[in-house]
Amino acid sequence: MHTLNGAQIIIRQLEQLGVDTIAGIPGGANLPLYDALAASTTIRHVLARHEQGAGFIAQGIARTTGKPAVCFATSGPGATNVLTALADAYLDSVPLVCITGQTPRALIGTDAFQEVDTYGMSMPITKHNYLVRSAADLLTIVPKAFQLAGSGRPGPVLIDVPKDVQTEMVSFESWPEPLAAGVERSPASDGAQAITAAAAMINAAARPMLYLGGGVIHAGAASVARKLAEQGEIPTVVTLMGLGILPSEHPLSLGMLGMHAPRATNLAMEECDLLIAAGVRFDDRATGRISAFCPGAKVIHVDIDASEIGKLRSVDAGIAGDARAAFIALLPHIEKRPRPEWRRRIRQLQQDHPRFHPDDFAPGRPFHLIRQVAELAGPEAYISTDVGKHQMWVAQAYPLTRPRQLLTSGGLGTMGFGLPAAIGAALAHPDKPVVCFTGDGSLQMNIQELATAVEQQAQVKIVVLNNQSLGLVRQQQRLFYERKYFASSYRIKVDFAAIARGFGLQAFDLDGADNPDALLTGAMQTPGPCLINVPIDIEEEVTPMVPPGAANTTMIGGSHARN
């Protein structure tokens, strides 16, 4: 017989589920939970400086390990602050379990101090959520929340726990049996038929294209996807969330598709006759105007979320199931087949529209910096980005070699993601280097987490690509609003190195440095968290660019623009 209060039940179950790190901030309504957490010997608590930071630290853990990670917040502002991180996790299918405190049951609905409708507000941005009405319910809710977060299409789950439920005593005979983590993993019952149909389409195609996204990484299907590409000699594009599935240097890799893709990639997509989409959702940043996307192609769509199949593009074969299971089922049916004409055509497009120009790598330019950092960080490094120009430059030029190497806010595009996500990655992988590429705009959205990085001694190198502006906004004003720049550049110059030092980080500033290369090398080799400020010309643009709402074949700019 066990007699515990609700908070103790939660903490004991988190221990049993193997949780070793929780990021969060205590407050009035979750103090019982923190009281129970203080007694835990196996869980490390990471005190964030803002609940959104806590949510993104948990994301850093979850995105790199693939397992649900946990964050805590109190009621009211604690809950509203964490919502952005939950929405971000929802759009990128990241497994999180967020546990919030709530006002005591008797006060719910009375506009009590720090009361908000966390359950109602989190509903549209979570995979599932709970308002716990009795402590005994926690015995089933906590394991179920973990199962939901990590299974099928992963996502965030929120558990809102009133303070008096946290303190309510419960006596029970035994802990519930652990739930299987892998529910919903098997392909649908009509799977075999769809596999045969898909295989026949692949074997018959002259110009097939693999289009892979985050779902392939979630399914642990990257290596089998690569096998499929190689066996059928199928050129492969990835979404932002799919970067790392194929090493960027792989001969079949055409890199990222969509708004900031290499020209040759979007042009090749236009010509494909079969699109094999897996773990993707035909997001507008990837497809451009959907009615003009791969206009001549039949479509095979593999996704564990059946609602994604046919949501935006009708399909010729839909496989509702796990990408890894689907690829393994497909492989024996895929003829080993060279496609010399198709490969030749793509090579021609790449020659006509080279991905990079040598000038792109001149000292002081973004790609030069990114490649330098990549060399110094080594292939083992985890890379997080914030959102903006620097994010797209990293996506275009960083030599990513493995799944889960890149942490980036894809669906929600949340500025402020990079630093706390990097801290989370560093906490989950203390033996690996972690680099956070950020911009001066993004860093200022969660800059307080510099304190967390120092306090936890997280091995994070923060590289600030500082153009003293909201670069992508400014770029859109230049291209689509007649250069009427408004509210897109900062009128004061912030000394990020000085600020970082104020938080206790080591900091380096390449602005005006005599030997920036040597300074960067030294900074990257400095143990512990550090910040490196790198001035970037405000006119450096992200090219090519597909205007929002245009077809992917409408690409503006770039060293090789042929407009």
């Binding site: 359950y119 109602g120 509903m123 549209p124 599932h128 308002l131 059946a306 609602s307 046919g310 949501k311």
Partner: protein
């Protein structure tokens, strides 16, 4: 609530709506789950009727959905809700739903 003002249930209805019967977990947030989904996915809901069944463990929700072209997507999205235990497409229940609508109009 029903938007149509149908007084005569026997009157022929244009069949551009679908009738769905959901079985859901009965708790205070479940109606919000269903209605919220329709709002955020931009689906039109013409009518909803909900009542607890099974000694209050589950609820039965009748939906009149004005999305025959998107019905597949509506059903797939509803299926994903953890609190939705079963979904049936019930064209046979159309007369019953019309009667319910007429009754509500009579109640005023």
């Amino acid at each position: 609530m029903p938007a149509t003002d149908t007084h005569n249930p026997s009157e022929a209805q244009p069949v551009n709506t679908a009738i769905l019967r959901l079985t859901v977990n009965n708790h205070p947030g479940v109606m919000l789950q269903i209605c919220g989904l329709f709002v955020r996915r931009n689906f039109n809901l013409e009518g909803i009727f909900c009542s607890a069944v099974d000694q209050g463990v589950t609820s039965c929700i009748w939906l009149k959905v004005d999305e025959t072209d998107k019905l597949d997507q509506v059903i797939k999205q509803l299926t994903k809700l953890e609190d939705v235990l079963a979904i049936e497409e019930r064209p046979d229940a159309r007369p019953g739903v019309s009667e319910m609508e007429a009754m509500m109009a009579r109640i005023g």
